[in-house]
C-alpha cells in the first residue's frame, strides 16, 4: 500500500480535493459539460507548464513565456489585420517567432553562460517591449474567427461529454507530444541527465548546449500555442500574458518538479496546472475579497510545495 501511495502524484490528490469542493459549491461542474469547460479553461496553463517542465528539468527557468503569450496575441491581431485569409501564415509566422525567441534564450544560456533566470528575464522585457511598440500600447485590431476557433470553438451534441471544446483537442495533442518527448525518447533522458549533473552528462557524451537550446525552444513553442488559445478565448488584450510565467513554474513545482533540475513528470505538471486552475476557480466561487484571494493563493501554493518536499524526504 505504502508503495502505491508513494507513486501517486500529490498534485493529483490536491486537484481532486479542490474539484470536489468546487462541485459541492457549484454542482454543474460535476456534469460532463462543466468538466469540459473547466478543462478548456485549464488548457493554456497546462500547455505552458508542459513546456516549462522541460526547462525546469534541465535545470533552468523560462521567465519569457508570459510575454511571448502577449506577443502572440498582439502579433496575431496585427498580422491577420482582420482578414481570415491571413490566419494560416500568421500562425506560421508566430511559431517562427517563438522558435527564434526560444533559440536566443537557449543560446544565451548555453554559450554566454548567463543564468537562465536572468537571460529569460531580459527576454521577457524585450519581448514585452516589442509587443508594446508594435501595438502602441493598445490593441490595434481584432483576431479573425478562424484564428479564434482554437480557443473558442465548442463542438456541441458530442456523445457522453455533450460539449467538446477545440482547446482540449489542442491540449491533448500537446500533452501526447510532450509525454513522448520527455518520457519516451533518448532526448528526454538527456534533459534529465543535464539537469541532474551537466558536467557528468557532458563527460558521458551528451551535447549539453544543444539540449539546453532545445528545451527553451520547446517552452517557447508551448507559449505560442497557449497564446493562440488565450487570444482565441478572450480576444485581443495587451496584458493577457502578465504573470503566466510564474503560474507555469508554480504548476510544475506543485506537480513535483524540482527547481534545481533533474526531477519532474509531465503528469505532475499537468496535474499542477489543473490544481492551480481549480484553486483560482474555487476562490472566485467562494466570493472572497481580492486581497484575501491573493493571500490564500500564496499560502496554499507554499503548503502544496512544502508538503511535496516533505514527502520526498520521507520516502526518498
Amino acid at each position: 500500500m505504502a508503495h502505491v501511495a508513494r507513486r501517486i502524484n500529490v498534485a493529483l490528490v490536491v486537484f481532486l480535493l479542490f474539484y470536489l469542493v468546487i462541485g459541492l459549491l457549484q454542482p454543474n461542474y460535476l456534469e460532463p459539460a462543466g468538466a469540459m469547460n473547466f478543462l478548456r479553461r485549464a488548457a493554456p496553463l497546462a500547455i505552458l507548464a508542459a513546456g516549462q517542465l522541460f526547462v525546469l528539468i534541465s535545470g533552468g527557468f523560462d521567465l519569457s513565456v508570459g510575454s511571448l503569450v502577449t506577443l502572440t496575441v498582439v502579433g496575431g491581431s496585427m498580422l491577420t489585420a482582420n482578414d481570415p485569409g491571413n490566419t494560416w501564415w500568421a500562425i506560421a509566422a508566430l511559431y517562427a517567432t517563438g522558435l527564434c525567441v526560444g533559440f536566443i534564450n537557449g543560446a544565451v544560456v548555453a554559450y554566454l553562460r548567463t543564468p537562465s533566470i536572468i537571460a529569460t528575464l531580459g527576454t521577457l522585457l524585450s519581448v514585452n517591449g516589442v509587443a508594446m511598440m508594435w501595438s502602441g500600447g493598445s490593441p490595434r485590431g481584432y483576431l479573425p474567427e478562424n484564428f479564434r476557433m482554437f480557443g473558442r470553438l465548442v463542438f456541441h451534441d458530442v456523445p457522453v461529454v455533450k460539449i467538446f471544446p477545440a482547446a482540449i483537442l489542442v491540449f491533448a495533442v500537446v500533452w501526447a507530444l510532450a509525454q513522448w518527448g520527455l518520457h519516451g525518447t533518448v532526448f528526454g533522458r538527456r534533459v534529465f541527465a543535464v539537469g541532474d549533473n551537466a558536467r557528468a552528462a557532458q563527460l558521458a557524451g551528451v551535447q549539453v548546449a544543444s539540449v539546453r537550446i532545445a528545451v527553451f525552444v520547446i517552452s517557447a513553442l508551448a507559449a505560442v500555442t497557449a497564446g493562440i488559445l488565450l487570444g482565441g478565448f478572450g480576444g485581443v488584450s495587451v496584458d493577457v500574458g502578465v504573470g503566466l510565467e510564474l503560474q507555469a513554474i508554480a504548476a510544475c513545482v506543485v506537480g513535483g518538479a524540482q527547481l534545481m533540475g533533474g526531477r519532474g513528470t509531465l503528469v505532475g505538471a499537468v496535474a499542477g496546472a489543473l490544481t492551480l486552475t481549480a484553486l483560482f476557480t474555487l476562490l472566485t466561487l467562494l466570493g472572497w475579497p481580492q486581497p484575501l484571494k491573493e493571500t490564500a493563493q500564496g499560502v496554499i501554493l507554499i503548503i502544496a510545495v512544502a508538503f511535496g518536499a516533505w514527502r520526498r524526504r520521507r520516502t526518498g
Binding site: 457549484q26 454543474n28 461542474y29 462543466g34 469547460n37 479553461r41 502602441g136 500600447g137 493598445s138 490593441p139 490595434r140 485590431g141 481584432y142 473558442r152 465548442v154 488565450l230 478565448f233 478572450g234 480576444g235 485581443v236 488584450s237 496584458d239 493577457v240 502578465v242 476557480t281 472566485t284 466561487l285 467562494l286 466570493g287 472572497w288 475579497p289 481580492q290 486581497p291 484575501l292 493571500t295
Partner: protein, 380 residues
C-alpha cells in the same frame, strides 16, 4: 463558513491598512455630498461654444489671469503621469494634435512621461521649473497627495494647469476635469434601474480596488442599486483582463442560471463579458460599457440594450487651450473647471461607431476635427 465571513473582512481590512500609505490619501470613496454634487452637475446645461465640449464648462467662475500675460509665442511644458493604458494613449494624441492646432501661439511643447511613478514625476516637474524653458506648466498628476508639494512649488514660479486627477491645493490657475466617478456611477446605475425587469440579477465587474476614480464609480452605482432594491449578485475584480472577465461571467451564469444586467466600472473588457453570454447560449444582458469602439460596434451589430458612459478623452485638449489663454491674459474658468461628461445612448450610437478606428479607440475623443485624424489615432 461563518468563520470565513469573519476572517475575510479582518484580513482584507489589514491588507488595506498596509496599502493605505501608497494610496492617494485616506479618502472617503462614498461621500453623500460628492454624490449629490455630481447629480447636480449632471443636470446643469453647459455653457461655452456649441459642439466643443472640451471648451465648455458646468458652472464655475472666470478667474483673472492678467498677471500672467506675456508676449507670444509661448513655451509650454507638460508633466504626464504616464501613457500606460489605451485611455491615456488616445488622450495624449489628442493633446499633441491640439498643440499643432495652436502652433502659431506655441513655440515649443515639451513633455515628460513619468511612467506611472510619483518620484519620477516630482523630479520631472522640478526639472521643468528649474530649466526656465517653460512659460506655463500642465500637470496630469500620477497620484493626488504625493504630487501636491511639487505642484505647489511650481505654482510659485509659473502658471500651472492641472487636469484629470487633482492635487490637494488650489494654487494652480485651474484644474480641468469632467464630472467624475460619482457622475459615471449615477449615469450607469440610473440606466440599469430604468431597464431592469423586476427582480432582475445584476453582475458588477470592476477592474481593481483602491483607485479613487474607479471606487467612486462603484460607490455611486451601488448606492443607487441599494436605494432601488436591485439584486446585485456579485461585484468581481477582473484585473482588466479579457480571459479572466469571460471566466468570471461564465461562472456567474452557471451559478445563477441567468444574469439580466452587467454593470462595468470601465469598458475595456465589455466585449469579453458579452462573449461569455454568447458562448453559454444565453440572451445578451442589459449592459453599460464605455465608449471604446469594440463595444460600440458589438452593441450596434447585436442590437443590445446598452449605454456607454464616458470619461471623455477630449479633456486632454482643454489644458493646452487654457495654457495659451492664461499666457495671453484672457480669463479662464477656475480654480475648478468642470467639463461635461456625456453618455452615448441608442439614439446617437451611429454617430460614434466607426469601423475604421482600432478596437480600444475612445469614441468620445472630440478629435475628428484635429489634424491627422484618423491615421494619427491608429485609424484607417
Amino acid at each position: 463558513m461563518r468563520l470565513f465571513k469573519w476572517i475575510a473582512p479582518a484580513v482584507s481590512g489589514t491588507a488595506l491598512a498596509i496599502a493605505a500609505p501608497y494610496a492617494a490619501s485616506a479618502q472617503n470613496f462614498d461621500d453623500p455630498r460628492e454624490f449629490q454634487a455630481a447629480r447636480d452637475l449632471l443636470k446643469m446645461t453647459p455653457s461655452g461654444p456649441e459642439g466643443k465640449p472640451w471648451e465648455q464648462n458646468l458652472g464655475g467662475k472666470e478667474v483673472d489671469t492678467s498677471k500672467y500675460k506675456k508676449p507670444g509665442p509661448y513655451r509650454i511644458c507638460f508633466s504626464n503621469a504616464g501613457v500606460d493604458n489605451p485611455w491615456r494613449v488616445v488622450g495624449w494624441i489628442n493633446m499633441q494634435a491640439q498643440v499643432d492646432v495652436l502652433k502659431d501661439d506655441i513655440k515649443s511643447f515639451k513633455a515628460a512621461d513619468a511612467q506611472g511613478k510619483d518620484d519620477k514625476q516630482i523630479s520631472d516637474i522640478n526639472a521643468f521649473v528649474q530649466s526656465g524653458d517653460c512659460d506655463a506648466l500642465i500637470v496630469s498628476p500620477n497620484t493626488t497627495a504625493a504630487l501636491t508639494p511639487a505642484v505647489e512649488a511650481a505654482c510659485k514660479k509659473l502658471p500651472v494647469i492641472v487636469f484629470d486627477r487633482g492635487v490637494l491645493t488650489t494654487c494652480p490657475v485651474t484644474f480641468v476635469n469632467p464630472v467624475g466617478g460619482y457622475g459615471w456611477g449615477i449615469q450607469t446605475a440610473d440606466f440599469i434601474v430604468s431597464k431592469l425587469p423586476k427582480g432582475g440579477k445584476v453582475l458588477a465587474l470592476r477592474i481593481l480596488p483602491g483607485v479613487d476614480v474607479l471606487e467612486t464609480r462603484w460607490s455611486a452605482a451601488n448606492r443607487i442599486f441599494k436605494e432601488n432594491g436591485v439584486n446585485v449578485v456579485g461585484a468581481e475584480f477582473t484585473g482588466g483582463d479579457n480571459a479572466k472577465t469571460k471566466q468570471i461571467v461564465e461562472d456567474y451564469i452557471n451559478k445563477n442560471g441567468r444574469i439580466d444586467a452587467v454593470w462595468m466600472d470601465a469598458g475595456a473588457t465589455a466585449v469579453a463579458a458579452l462573449e461569455a453570454f454568447e458562448d453559454s447560449g444565453q440572451p445578451y444582458p442589459i449592459i453599460t460599457g464605455e465608449d471604446q469602439e469594440d463595444f460600440l460596434k458589438k452593441w450596434k451589430e447585436k442590437g443590445l440594450t446598452a449605454m456607454a458612459p464616458t470619461y471623455p478623452t477630449y479633456q486632454w485638449r482643454a489644458p493646452v487651450i487654457a495654457a495659451v489663454k492664461v499666457l495671453k491674459g484672457e480669463p479662464v474658468i477656475g480654480p475648478t473647471w468642470k467639463l461635461p461628461q456625456p453618455v452615448i445612448t441608442q439614439g446617437d450610437l451611429d454617430k460614434y461607431v466607426d469601423d475604421k478606428m482600432p478596437p480600444l479607440h475612445y469614441a468620445m475623443c472630440g478629435c475628428k476635427d484635429l489634424p491627422g485624424y484618423p491615421q494619427r489615432w491608429g485609424g484607417k
